[in-house]
């Protein structure tokens, strides 16, 4: 059972990783919490659903979810963030909350509040590896997550756009002096973040095969915890922290603590913040937190 539970934990962790990364791109560069990410995830899921039930392939679904969520994220940046760029950090955070309320309402009116379920034919088979059974979709979720994290890491660390992103993260004014357009980079960061949330939404919706307009709420808060544990400025941190929290959750449940699961996760997050504020993998830490 333990091995099977570890597989469960890693799958859950993969999703946390993608969402945490989505939070940390905006957080790491702009220092704000984009509360609408949970809803971008949800919208991505619905888009993925629509594509899959139209009998198109999974890559198309992932692409559609990413594109749709990135586009909405761009709108959020233009209306909700850019005009409030100079305001205290809490103000744009609340404007993203406004978008999250609107997106939930739109989803409810379009698809209903009851869970939308994927027909049986899309559930996918299972592979038995000794005592452990892994779903094909589980493997896909984990695989796509690793690929996306690698792509993100490459973009941020190796490309000129990534250098520009890091420059803006370090110091917006200096970056501008060096000829980097802050507003363009901000928009890019929001869209990348949206695309990741959208991809996570599609993967989750297809793997768990059921989705509601409120699907992002709980998992969004957990992803914030994962982002903190992994460190807000290290891409690879999320890849480590996601499965770590996923496994911690799964083991808490397996060994009799399903009711204190959330207590454990958030307790862990606070402990990390207090004793290793730079996250598991280091990087710039909480002592440099921007003013709210």
């Amino acid at each position: 059972m333990l091995l099977q539970q570890l597989v469960n934990g890693v799958t859950l962790g993969a999703v946390y990783t993608l969402l945490a990364l989505s939070f940390s791109i905006v957080m790491g560069i702009l220092g704000i919490l984009n509360l609408a990410i949970a809803e971008l995830f949800m919208i991505g899921g619905y888009l993925g659903f629509a594509v899959i039930t139209a009998h198109l392939s999974l890559p198309v679904a992932v692409a559609a979810g990413m594109a749709g969520a990135a586009a909405i994220s761009a709108v959020i940046e233009k209306i909700g963030y850019e005009p409030l760029r100079d305001a205290p950090l809490v103000t744009p955070m609340l404007s993203t909350l406004g978008f999250s309320i609107i997106l939930q309402n739109i989803a409810t009116n379009m698809w209903g509040s009851d869970p939308l379920q994927l027909p049986d034919e899309f559930l996918g088979g299972r592979i038995a590896l000794g005592p452990v059974s892994i779903g094909e979709l589980q493997l896909i979720v984990i695989g796509v997550t690793i690929v996306l994290v690698a792509v993100m890491a490459y973009i941020v660390q190796r490309t000129s756009m990534g250098r520009a992103l890091r420059a803006v993260a370090e110091n917006r004014d200096v970056a501008r002096l060096l000829g980097v357009s802050g507003s363009r980079i901000t928009l890019t960061a929001f869209m990348m973040s949206g695309a990741l949330a959208g991809a996570a939404g599609v993967l989750i919706a297809i793997h768990y095969a059921a989705i509601t307009p409120y699907v992002g709420v709980e998992i969004g808060l957990k992803a914030i915890a994962v982002m903190v544990i992994g460190g807000t400025s290290r891409i690879w941190g999320a890849l480590l922290a996601g499965p770590l929290i996923g496994i911690a959750e799964v083991l808490t449940v397996a060994y009799g603590g399903s009711q204190i699961r959330d207590f454990v996760v958030y307790g862990f997050m606070i402990a990390i913040l207090l004793f290793r504020p730079q996250g598991l993998l280091g990087g710039s830490g909480a002592d440099q937190g921007q003013r709210v």
Partner: protein, 278 residues
């Protein structure tokens, strides 16, 4: 006044206190996303005291405020290590932990909730709101407030000129927790039933929203923000299915038009000036 208006006013009062609890911390430059946790502590403790121990409500609220204040101070010490958005996320975690705790606490009914409280009138709620508003107003013109603002503006500089920034920040945490607890106690005795779901992240965010919308530079802003958050959804009923979206859109618009909040000192001066002229 119709009973409907009265109950909305009571909700405004309760939310005003919650918002003030965030306002006090925000004055030192710290953001709390977990004050619903302190509200839960106050709600459950005050209810337990009145229902099981038979303590009169006012004493129960005072005890709840003190206990929550002490917990706030205890939380304040480790929180000193954190700043800005990191502190905000730690408080978020704290709030979720408290909710999870009450979900599992059998003596207060767990998920099944807790009842048996006697209903309090809107007048009683507003006596508390009035008292605490006056207290905050007095504080705003005190030396302590200047120290808090100094910590918010530049903590290092405040330290250098010999201010006790540790005491200031921890004191703000303690006071914030106490005010949130009063808000919770009143909530419990106004709605006469509480359950852990009442005190989730959404509630913490409501507090912050009320402060920022109403105006975060002045205590009375919390009152304006709370009134807006409670009364606006009632005014949008005609929109039926699109009521939440309209609320979200208006929220964004208010933030875009008045990022400093609806009420600030210059607006307040203009109002009072006009009144005197008339």
């Amino acid at each position: 006044m119709s009973t409907y208006t009265a109950s909305l006013l009571a909700d405004v009062g309760i939310l005003t206190l919650g918002a003030l609890s965030v306002y006090v911390i925000l004055a030192t430059g710290q953001l709390s996303l977990g004050n619903a946790g302190f509200m839960a502590i106050g709600a459950y403790l005050a209810s337990y005291l009145t229902v099981v121990a038979g303590v009169p409500l006012t004493s129960a609220l005072v005890i709840a405020a003190l206990c929550s204040g002490i917990i706030g101070v205890m939380i304040g010490f480790p929180a000193l290590r954190l700043k800005g958005i990191f502190l905000a996320m730690a408080t978020l975690g704290f709030g979720e932990m408290i909710r999870s705790l009450f979900l599992n606490l059998e003596i207060t009914g767990g998920a099944g909730g807790f009842h048996g409280m006697a209903h309090v009138s809107v007048t009683y709620v507003w006596i508390w709101v009035g008292l605490i508003l006056v207290l905050v107003w007095l504080m705003e013109s005190s030396r302590a407030w200047l120290e808090m603002r100094a910590v918010a503006d530049d903590e290092t500089a405040a330290n250098l000129i010999g201010l006790n920034t540790t005491m200031t920040k921890i004191g703000a945490f303690g006071m914030s927790a106490a005010v949130a607890a009063v808000s919770g106690g009143l909530f419990a005795h106004h709605h006469v039933y509480i359950e852990p779901g009442n005190f989730g992240f959404e509630r913490s965010i409501d507090f912050v929203l009320a402060v920022i919308l109403g105006g975060s530079t002045i205590g009375a802003g919390s009152l304006v923000g709370a009134a807006l958050l409670v009364l606006l959804p009632e005014q949008l009923r005609a929109l039926d299915d699109w009521r939440p979206a309209a609320f979200g859109a208006l929220l964004i618009i208010v933030l875009l038009i008045r990022r400093q909040g609806i009420l600030d000192r210059s607006l307040l001066r203009r109002f009072t000036f006009r009144k005197q002229a008339a």
